[in-house]
């Protein structure tokens, strides 16, 4: 093995070279004249904000889109990649952010899908079983080949995706935001696997928006901003601050300025809250928490550990058992008295995790959306009819005060950017002067400029004496905003910490369900 060979030698052949790649969708230019060189046997990071064009670029490389201009060289040879099969043939494997697995197939079936040997399944499955065992031994990727995907954890599912690529003898592995669904421990394991692969001579491209990961694992890094490649540098010669500035194009505050909280009376008190989903799986297994006026309780955790269910049951659209007291009064948890409307009447406002699916009706115009959820308010409706004039006036007002761009109330919600959509939702929910604000993933898919604005709004609301429940999978965001942090794992709260008295490592252990280790 040549793993001892230094990787920064100038003579390493290029695994991938992109020359002048451009791609636009209608009037939107997603990639503009992008060129990169990635050396064989290195880990190359691509970092950039949401919407910077990283994923479009990788989709071009994997044959999902065709570039309008430019050329792709694989191993020094010009290569056309019209579809995924061509990418696979060129030795490219891709691990998508949202896994492309058939949920009710076994690991083995997923691995051979599209790469079968011959028309009958049996020989293919036998061969794959052998090969899989060997790969698992080589790269510590222990996955039961006969397990059904939906019964595996996300970390394991991701390994299946990597195995799929390796089974197809990929030399170049692209991973798109691979750690978004992983605990810090799982992410470490992934990085060990990736280093092992690199040392075997594979080339790895890691797409992420997390500076820490870039610094930790990559050999070189390219920064993208607004569809353009702003720089490519060896990781060792740069710093997180420099990368952040390259990403955004100006100096960024990575911290939120806020005064210490002055907690008041208890607003929300949750005791032994349980939620069972349609598949009879218990998603919340006895949640206890308390939030006082004037404080932000941050819920940290890897997504899928019950945070969504917590927001849904508090927001009134999932059934649960246990007790929720709002300002000292019990809330009905089932039946007709329990829906999002009655929750709002009790002073609970909710900025949902997925604004495009839940928080907005994407085909409704902005002025129709500002009444959404409050459309029975006397402000917006009298008798059977809606008061369109009042809704429009209210929308004008909110757009001005929350700096929504473009400030056009007649534009449909889907035509605003993520950040501006979030401002519309936030304006609607905050303006109702709620006692409690539930807010999920406040800055997901939001550009950095809007992130600062949204964070300021959340803190300002707290300072007005409101109780805030913040759910985010971004640990940095939780650390920056919360006055107290509760960590959720597998439907339970593993522990509560004060942001000043904990660190990412401890929270990471709690997120992985290791309560004892963090005690």
């Amino acid at each position: 093995m040549s793993r001892a060979a230094p990787r920064d030698e100038g003579d390493a052949a290029l695994a991938i070279e992109l020359r002048g790649i451009s791609k636009s969708f209608g009037p939107v230019q997603a990639n503009r004249d992008i060129s990169i060189e990635v050396r064989r046997g290195t880990i190359h990071g691509i970092i950039g904000e949401n919407g910077a064009g990283k994923s479009t670029l990788m989709s071009i490389l994997y044959g999902f889109y065709r570039a309008d201009a430019g050329e792709i060289l694989i191993g020094g040879r010009r290569t056309e990649i019209p579809d995924s099969q061509a990418a696979i043939d060129a030795g490219i494997g891709m691990v998508f952010q949202h896994f492309k697995l058939v949920e009710n197939f076994t690991v083995l079936e997923n691995v051979i899908l599209g790469a079968e040997d011959g028309r009958l399944l049996k020989p293919s499955l036998a061969k794959a079983r052998r090969l899989l065992k060997q790969l698992a031994d080589d790269y510590e990727m222990d996955v039961d080949p006969e397990a059904v995907i939906e019964e595996l954890g996300v970390g394991q599912q991701q390994r299946v995706e990597i195995l799929k690529a390796l089974y197809r003898e990929a030399d170049i592995l692209i991973l798109d935001e691979p750690t978004g669904v992983l605990t810090p421990a799982e992410a470490d394991h992934l990085f060990r696997i990736l280093r092992g692969l690199r040392d075997e001579g594979k080339t790895i491209i890691l797409i992420t928006h997390k500076l820490r990961e870039i610094m930790e694992i990559t050999d070189s890094v390219s920064v993208m901003r607004r569809g353009e490649m702003t720089a490519t540098v060896p990781t060792a010669e740069t710093s997180p601050e420099e990368l952040a500035e390259l990403m955004v194009g100006r100096k960024v505050l990575l911290r939120v300025d806020k005064a210490p909280a002055r907690p008041g009376d208890v607003v929300l008190e949750v005791r032994d809250l349980r939620v069972v989903d349609e598949q009879k799986v218990e998603r919340l297994r006895g949640i206890d928490l308390t939030i006082r006026a004037g404080e932000i309780l941050g819920i940290a955790g890897v997504s899928g550990n019950g945070q969504s269910e917590l927001l849904e049951v508090l927001g009134g659209y999932a059934n649960g058992t246990g007790s929720i007291r709002m300002n000292g009064q019990e809330i009905d948890l089932t039946g007709t008295a329990s829906d999002a409307r009655t929750r709002r009447a009790r002073g609970i406002a909710h900025v949902p995790e997925d604004r495009q699916r839940e928080g907005l009706v994407m085909d409704y115009r902005a002025w129709e959306n500002v009444a959404f959820g409050y459309h029975s308010d006397p402000r917006f409706s009298s008798g059977l009819f809606m008061d369109h004039a009042a809704m429009r006036a209210d929308c004008d007002d909110k757009m001005r005060r929350f700096d929504v761009r473009p400030p056009d109330p007649t534009l449909a919600a889907k035509n605003f950017s993520g950040g501006n959509q979030q401002k519309i939702v936030l304006a609607r929910e905050i303006e109702r002067n709620p006692d409690l604000l539930l807010i999920g993933q406040p800055t997901r898919g939001v550009d950095i400029g809007a992130i600062e604005f949204i964070h300021e709004q959340i803190v300002a609301l707290r300072d007005q004496g409101k109780a805030i429940l913040l759910v985010s999978v971004e640990l940095d965001e939780i650390m920056a905003l919360s006055d107290r942090i509760a960590v959720m794992f597998d439907g339970r709260i593993m522990g509560e910490r004060l942001p000043g008295e904990t660190d990412q490592r401890e929270l990471g252990l709690l997120m992985a369900g290791m309560a004892g280790a963090a005690a």
Binding site: S59, D83, I88, M94, L101, E109, L113
Partner: protein
Amino acid sequence: MDFLGLLQILDSTLRLATPLLFACLAGLFSERAGIFDIGLEGKMLASAFLSAAAASYTGNVWLGCLAGIGASLMLAAIHGVASITFRGNQLISGVAINFLASGLTVVVGEAWFGLGGRTPQLMGAARFQEIDLPFAREIADVPLLGPIYANLLSGHSALVYIGLLCVPLTWWVLYRTRFGLRLRAVGENPAAVDTAGVSVVGLRYAAVMICGLLTGLAGAYLATALSAGFVKEMSAGRGFIALAALIFAKWRPWYALGATLLFGLLEALGNRFQTIEVFDITVPTQFMQALPYILTVVILAGFVGRAIPPRAGGEPYIKER
């Protein structure tokens, strides 16, 4: 009811279940690949018409059958173009196909034959003949087994046996071949198939065309085996009943056989007993005739077991990263 009477009912169950079975397996291929097809009814009708017309013209039932399959494949291709290539609404496309078949069969039939939408009565080789299985006559006198073999199993048209053979064949294709694996995958998660370098469009077209082939057989059977010619609207909702049977069968081939036999039995009972007296109340004919439709609703209501449909069913596939 005596033993022979029972055999007669089971015999006609088998006959009546056959078109449902073909249609149900047809729907199975299509829906397993993620394409809803409420146009089974129309395809069946079109095939019934063209098979009867061609059989009456050529005097050869097999040519008729081929023509019927051709008609069904044409409509299947339209459904494919609408729902796969142009990512249209699969339900609406199916509805359009049903109306198209209802209209065209009568318009063209009237223009060709001038019999008010019927085709001429089919006779002789223009119809599927009953096939006697080997030794049916010889062992007919053996008690119990003899009559079952001779009266129930023997003496059906070739398509009945082909239909029954299609069940294990479908199972084998679905679970033992590469094509079957990919087909099932594309109905569950087309993105997985696409990123694995297999054409989603190709697979779905293949499934839709197999669906057309099998529905063609269902229609040909209706007009050239079960009846002796085409009659306006002769499919009578069988395409929809087959869909209900498919749901009841949880999209599985062997269950599909059971489900369609059940509906066949219901129809056989309805035909055999025009009126039934229950506790001195006479159940009207119309109720017996509506029974398969009512049962369909009951099954869809999930009072008889529930199943998870293919997850990507009905959704056009759009590449997303």
